[in-house]
Each structure stands twice: as C-alpha cells, then as structure tokens.
C-alpha cells in the first residue's frame, strides 16, 4: 500500500487533474461514430490550416479555393464525380476485403489489370470495332472484373494455401501489374512509338452526359460518365452481400473471430480466395471504367494512386458501402483541387492529415475519456 500511494503522489504533482481512459462497456448510439468522424475531419482541416499558415499561406483562401475548384460550378462538380468514380469502386473493393480482415493493399495492381483486360477487348481485338456500344460495355466490364479478380486470386490462393502474408504479396503485385501494363503499351500496342495505345473506337466509350448535349443543352461539356451508375449499383450490391446475404454473414463472422467461424463450420480458406477475387473484381471495374469512361486508351499514367486512396476511402467510410460513395466524392474533390492548388502537394497533405485524425478518433469510440480532478478520487 505504501508504495502505491507514493506512486500516486508522484503523478499528482505534475498536473492538478488527471485524464482517465476507460474502455466503454455500453454500446454507443448509432449517430456517435458519424459525429466522431465528422469531428475528426474538422480537426484535420484545422491542423491543415495551421500547417498552411506556417508555410506562409492563407488557409481560408486555400480552403475556399479548393471548394470552388471542386464544387464551385456544375462543370467542376462533374469533374469531381469523374474522379470519385474509380475511388468508389476501389473503396468498395477494400471495404469487402477489410471486413474480413484481409488487408488487400493491391487494389492499385488490380485496377491496372482490370484496365488492361478491358483494353484487351478492343486491342486484341476480341470484339470488332463495329460491335454495338452495349455489347462493348458488357464485355469490357466483364473482362475488367475478370482481370482484377484473377489478380486478386493470386494473393488469395497464396494466403489460403501457404499462409503468405497478403499485405506483402498484394503490395508487390502492384509493381508487377504496372510493369506488365508498361510492357504492352511500350512494345505491343504502342501507337507510333508513343507509350500509349491508339484511341478506342467511340463504341467502346462509356456514355457521358455531354453525349446527350445536343438534346439537353444543360449537359453540354459535362464529362460525368456511365461509370457513376455502375459504381452506385456496385455499392448497392456490396451492401446486399455484406448485410443481407449468408455469404456476407460468413465474411463478417470470419472478420470478427476466425476461431468462432471455424467452430461454426465455415471454411475460411475458401472464403479468403473468394473475397480476394471479389475485391479484385471491384478494383478491376475501377480500371475498366477509367479506361472506357475517361482515358479512352491504355497508357501509363492512368491512376494517380487510386488503389491506395481507396484504402483511405474504405477506412474513412468505416467500411460502409454507402458511406464510401460520399467519402469518394470528398476525395475526388481533393484530387481535382490538386490541379489548381500550387504546390499540388497541399491536397495530399490534407488527405494524410484527415486519415491520421480519423484513425486516431477511433479511440474515442472504444474508450470513454473523463477528466478527474485530483482529490475528487480517493
């Protein structure tokens, strides 16, 4: 007892109060996690403002500029949505895998493989240039998903069979995917020696709002493409799978306690492979929509790191498929603002600060913090 009180005394002299952390033993209300996330974003923006201030900038003007550059008019908002589309797909891909505690860091590689497989439909060619648009979209989407799924299968089977850490294998496979793509655009499908393929025929483009410009003048110049619809459908499907299906129940059970899942007779290894493939297919779909909806050719720089941003998106959305849509739009805006803001690293810095704040804020959901005045507690 003596030593105990002595220890307390030593602590007491530093501060007049003590901060106490207690693990929450009761459930938090539904709105609480959302409030915490929102608060974390606000704090992140404040920290970002301080950094901007220290850097000699005007945070208020910067933020206003970012807002104007991404939400200021229907035109730029449309561009924001275009950036959000691949993020939604990749965010969903990560959400599915993370829900099972499979750390798929390879969405970037699966994105490239999806883009590659979708391009192959046009470039091999599997479909003639004169094939109807709807057929192109279906076949390219199927190819994109297949490409991503197969690329997810590799780390999946390696983990299931040989217990290879998926973080390492998916990360390494990213570099292979980029190199694989480069080989094709440099050596095989190169157009006149440039590091890009020829432009796809119009039939292989996802329809854009601007395509309707002649009938509805309001849509003129808007680049938002059909991929947005596909992305929202994908979010609905992922939500149905995770929360309404038997498979989703199994995924959640494995994610929460693999021992309990084994005990309930669920074959975990099979699920590892399937979930990695679903995750890969979603990331592959991102590649397909980007190729067919925006770039219209296969080239080197098709991703400013969508696959990695997707990890942040999934985390920020707390793995909720619908939240992924909104978070993706926020991050699409930040990517877009990168074009306008100099130095362009500022939005990236803000992204990073937001992520750190969000991960830190999780603590508030798991623990209750109370400030105890000294003396109040005997």
């Amino acid at each position: 007892m003596k030593t105990d009180s002595a220890g307390n005394l030593r602590r007491r002299t530093i501060l007049p109060f003590r901060i106490k952390f207690e693990e929450r033993i009761s459930d938090v209300p539904k709105w609480y996690p959302f409030m915490i996330s929102f608060g974390a974003v606000v704090v992140a923006l404040l920290i970002g403002a301080i950094i901007l201030l220290l850097g000699g900038g005007n945070p208020w003007l910067t933020y206003a500029h970012i807002a104007r550059a991404s939400f200021g008019s229907i035109g730029v908002f449309s561009d924001t949505l275009v950036k959000a589309i691949p993020l939604i797909f990749v965010g969903l891909a990560c959400s599915v895998a993370f829900r099972m505690k499979l750390w798929n860091i390879g969405a970037e590689g699966q994105f490239f493989m999806g883009a590659f497989a979708a391009s192959a439909v046009v470039l091999i060619p599997i479909l003639p240039e004169t094939a109807p648009k709807w057929l192109f979209i279906i076949v390219m989407a199927a190819a994109g998903m297949l490409g991503g799924a197969l690329y997810g299968f590799i780390p999946g089977i390696l983990k299931a069979r040989f217990n290879v850490n998926e973080v390492i294998s998916t990360l390494m496979l990213n570099y292979i995917a980029v190199a694989w793509n480069n080989y094709f655009i440099f050596a095989i499908w190169t157009e006149a020696g440039f590091q890009m393929t020829k432009v796809f025929p119009q039939n292989a483009w996802l329809p854009r709002l601007t395509d309707l410009g002649s009938e509805i003048p309001f849509f003129r110049g808007l680049t938002t493409h059909f991929g947005l619809v596909l992305a929202v459908i994908a979010a609905i499907i992922v939500w149905l799978i995770l929360y309404k299906s038997r498979w989703g129940y199994e995924i959640r059970l494995i994610g929460d306690n693999p021992k309990a899942a084994t005990y309930a007779g669920i074959p975990i290894k099979k699920h590892i492979v399937w979930v990695m493939m679903l995750s890969g297919a979603l990331a592959g779909m991102a590649g397909m929509s980007e190729i067919s909806g925006v770039v219209h050719r296969l080239q080197g720089a098709i991703s400013p790191g969508y696959g990695f941003t997707g990890i942040i998106v999934a985390w920020l959305a707390k793995l909720n498929p619908f939240a992924v849509i909104f978070v993706s739009i926020l991050f699409g805006a930040l990517i877009l603002a990168g074009r306008e803001i100099q130095p362009s690293g500022v939005p990236k810095m803000i992204q990073g600060v937001i992520l750190v704040c969000l991960i830190a804020s999780d603590f508030l959901i798991r623990y209750r913090i109370s400030i105890v005045r000294q003396g109040a507690e005997a």
């Binding site: 007892m1 003596k2 030593t3 105990d4 033993i25 009761s26 459930d27 149905l240 309404k244 299906s245 038997r246 498979w247 989703g248 129940y249 959640r252 059970l253 929460d256 306690n257 021992k259 309990a260 899942a261 084994t262 005990y263 309930a264 007779g265 669920i266 074959p267």
Partner: protein, 522 residues
C-alpha cells in the same frame, strides 16, 4: 541422533508467508494461507486448478498484492509491488508460458531489461559469463543460439538461467513439466536437484502426484484457497493420501435427477490419437461410447487431453489415428460442418475466443449454427427479421439480459454470454453435445439453471459428454464418469466414488485399483 535432529530444526527459513488473504471478485482465492520454504529444499505446492496455488505464488513473486498477511524473506519483512522487487529479494518465478524473445540469442534474452551492459553490448564477455553460470548449475546452453532454435526444454533452461543471473535464490516453477516431453522432465529434475545442492531453494507447483513424489522434499496442499496440508514431509505419503487432500470429500448436493434410460449408441470413438498445440501427444488411444439419453462425465486434472478431445470430436483438431463415429458416420478429420449436420453441438471452454464473435450482435451470434437453414436462410439471402425474431425468442426463453438483440455480445456479462452459447447450442436440439466447463465462472443460481438445462436435454434423448474439473458437478450430473490422465482413459466410475476418481485422476489405472482392493480384502 539428537544433535542431527536439532540441526534439522535449525534449517534456515528462506520464505515465510503468514495468513495471506487474497480476494478476487466473487472468489476468495487465498484464505489465510501460511507457507514456509526452507533453504535447500524442493517444496511442492499441490492442488487442483483454481485451488489458489498460482495466486499464492504470484503474490510471492510480486505480481499480485495480498489483501492482508505478511511475507518474510530471510527473516526480514518485505512488501513487493512489482516482480522487480521480488527479484531484488532473490525470488524469481518461472512461468508456464516462457517470456522470451524468439529472434534474439540466449545471452540477449538473459540481459534483457538489466541496467548493465548500458550501451555497448559486449556480448562476447557476457556469453562467457553465461556459460560459466550454466556450468556451475548444470544448465548447459549455447549462449549464441537464437531462442527459436531451441527446444522447449532448452528454453526453460534459459528462463532458469535468467533468474539465476539476476541472483535469485528461490525459484518458483509454475507447472514446469506441463510443456515438457518425458526425457526433458528427467533432465529438469536432475537440474533442480543440482541447484538445491548448491544452496538454492525451489518451489514446485504441480498437480501431478507421481512427479511430486519423485522430486519434492516437503509439500503443501491447497484446496479452494485453504491449506489442507502444510509443509509435511513427502516421504510416507501415498498417492491416495495426496489425492484425498487435493480433491477432498465433499457432500454432494443432489439434483432432482430421474434415472437415465440410455438408448442407442450415438457416439463411438475408437483408438483416437492427436497432438496438442505444442505438437506433443495429447490423446493416446482414447475409446468410449456415449448413448442417447445419458450424460457421460469426463473427469481429469486440466491439461490431460480434455480440451483436445472436445476439439477432435467437434472437428476443430486434426486426428492422427482412430475413428469418431456419430450416428454411423466416421467424421474424424472433417470440418465442424460435418458434425453440425449430424446434430453435434459444442459448448466450448473458451467462450469469448471460440464460442462467440464479440463485435457481432446477439442475433448474429445465436444464428451461427443454423443460418443456412430455413426460415433464417432464404436462398442465398438472410432473412433478418426472422433471425431477429428467433434471437428474441431465445432471449426470453433463456433469460439473456440484454437491451436489444442488436447489442454486440462483447458488452454482455460472463453469465449472459454463456447463456447466449447455451441458447444456441441447445435450441438446435442436438443429438450429441460436448459441454466443456459449462458452469465455470457462473454464480450459484446460474449454475443450477445450466445444470437443469443439461438434464432436460438428456431426458429429451440427447447424448451428452460433460467435461469438467468440478468433481461435485460431474458426480451429481453424470450417469457414469470416465477419468482421463495424460491422454489416456484410466477407467470408468459408475458409483461416484470420489476417492477412486481422485486416484485415477492422478494416474492410477482401474485395473491397478482393483488389484489393490483385492489385496486389501485378502
């Protein structure tokens, strides 16, 4: 003669613990316990699981603080507030689970946390010191070897060296033989004998009677936090005496139990062999049958293969040899689903880690075994409303106290969590049930409820295998009892004779017992 006995009485007392009381929520783990250790002796501390052996020794090693009582080391009154204080006073504890860094060398592990060497490691010099220390006490180790390269026995040697290096004079060994192979046990014993010859003292915690007889000079027996024998000489004590002291004779409270009417054989296991998590043999040719409408108890001191048997029966562990036949089908080495298909249900020992998914809701936890069946399954979809309805029904039926069925189960109390598991496992109307420690950690009322539920299942025709360390519970619930010891069935008891069970629990076979009885009668 006189002078030698005088000398013996003047043996120095290294440790004196007086009237130690330690209370945990709901349990009196140590009830005014006295303990004495003399210089140069191996003192065995015997008792069943939960008897308070580890609590007492954790107090001595500075891990716990006693609520009251005093500790004297070498005649001086001490208070320990951390293991560091205890080591400074020359008391070191070697835990069952080693605390070593696998990727570092022996020397690095031994030096870990010490204030010398300060900055430059100068390992060569220290390697030599450790070799010398090892030679002195008969503990040969290669100081440059990495821990992961060593066998379990060698790792234990490193733990002992770690304590000796820190100047420990009293070594507390917490069930040191539990992780060792038989040959390693012999080596350990000769090492211990060596060390006491050099003037060290050893406290040997165990529940294995033959080891205690072999190694110890004196022994203290604990039962339910109380001393039943304090510091008596190990000589002249038969195993039967020790078993009685350890297990005790208790008035068995009676349950309202109808006579069982066993039906056809539901489970038959033949010559089952398997390994434990440390790849040591856990089951060695286990054979028995369980019929419908009976509760078969499995008695044994913890760690004699009970958990492994439950795992093997429910498809959670690989079976090296043998057959597990349920309703005519051999389900050995199939996954848990095969058993579930046959109506096997399982109340696991480890509720939070095996039995439930803590962050999922009560609903998600109770549908674990029947989410593939109608009406909860609707094609590939789950029918959430009917799953919730099912969960609410179970909540009412089994008195699960929880605000809503959507509450994550990690927020439930132990008793409520156990009810969630029981609700799930019993409501599936099992043909065969493995219940492992179903009442552990519950309060008296809850225990009775669980026991009644098990009897109801029996009367409804289920075959039940009850695995428990609570002998009273086993005897009052079971229709017959098998006793397991080191992965082998020692025999079967049908009359609930505690003494017989106690002897079998400590490694006497039924045949030997019968021979002994015959000799007595002659």
């Amino acid at each position: 003669m006189n002078s030698t006995s005088d000398l013996q009485q003047q043996v120095r007392k290294v440790v004196e613990m007086k009237a130690i009381v330690k209370r945990f929520p709901g349990v009196l783990a140590s009830d005014r316990v006295d303990f004495e250790l003399q210089e140069g002796e191996i003192h065995a501390l015997l008792g069943e699981n939960g008897a308070g052996k580890s609590t007492l020794m954790n107090i001595l090693a500075g891990l716990y603080k006693a609520d009251s009582g005093s500790i004297k080391v070498n005649g001086k009154l001490v208070t320990f507030s951390s293991p560091k204080d205890a080591i400074a006073a020359g008391i070191g504890m070697i835990h069952q689970h080693f605390m070593l860094v696998p990727s570092q060398t022996v020397t690095e592990n031994i030096l870990l946390g010490l204030s010398k060497p300060r900055f430059i490691m100068d390992l060569k010099n220290y390697d030599q010191k450790i070799i010398e220390l090892g030679e002195k006490f008969g503990l040969p180790v290669d100081p440059k070897a990495k821990i992961w390269q060593l066998s379990v026995g060698e790792q234990q040697r490193v733990e002992i060296l770690k304590m000796l290096y820190r100047g420990a004079n009293v070594l507390i060994m917490d069930e040191p033989t539990a992780v060792l192979a038989p040959q390693e046990i012999d080596i350990l014993f000769s090492t211990l004998k060596n060390m006491v010859a050099m003037g060290k003292s050893v406290i040997f915690i165990s529940h294995k009677l033959h080891e205690v007889q072999k190694i110890s000079d004196r022994l203290t027996v604990l039962r339910k936090g109380k001393i039943t024998a304090g510091g008596v000489s190990a000589e002249g004590k038969s195993r039967a005496d020790l078993a009685r002291l350890m297990v005790g004779r208790e008035v068995i409270f009676s349950l309202d139990k109808k006579l069982s009417i066993p039906g056809k054989v539901v489970l038959r296991i033949e010559d089952v062999h398997c390994l434990n998590d440390k790849n040591l043999k856990a089951l060695n040719g286990v054979e028995f049958e369980v019929r419908s409408g009976e509760i078969v108890g499995l008695a044994g001191v913890a760690g004699n293969g009970q958990k492994e048997l439950a795992d093997v029966l429910t498809g959670l562990r690989h079976c090296l040899e043998g057959k597990i036949i349920i309703q005519g089908e051999n389900i050995a080495n199939m996954d848990a689903k095969a058993g579930i298909r046959h109506g096997v249900s399982h109340i696991p020992e480890d509720r939070t880690h095996v039995g439930t998914a803590p962050n999922l809701s009560v609903t998600d936890n109770v549908i674990m075994k029947n989410y593939t069946k109608k009406p909860i399954a609707r094609g590939w979809m789950l029918d959430n409303p009917s799953a919730d309805k099912y969960a609410r029904e179970l909540k009412d039926l089994y008195d699960i106290v929880v605000p809503s069925v959507n509450t994550p189960v990690r927020l439930l109390s132990g008793g409520n969590l156990q009810r969630v598991i029981l609700a799930r496992e019993i409501s599936s109307e099992p043909t065969f049930m493995v219940a492992m420690q179903p009442t552990r950690g519950l309060d008296v009322g809850a225990i009775e409820g669980v026991q009644k539920l098990l009897l109801l299942q029996r009367d409804a025709g289920a075959a039940i295998l009850l695995i428990s360390e609570e002998l009273e519970e086993l005897i009052s619930l079971s229709d017959r009892i098998f006793v397991i010891y080191e992965g082998e069935i020692m025999g079967e008891v049908t009359d609930g004779d505690v003494e017989k069970i106690g002897l079998m629990m400590t490694g006497t076979r039924q045949e030997q017992l019968e021979k002994m009885e015959a000799q007595y009668e002659n």
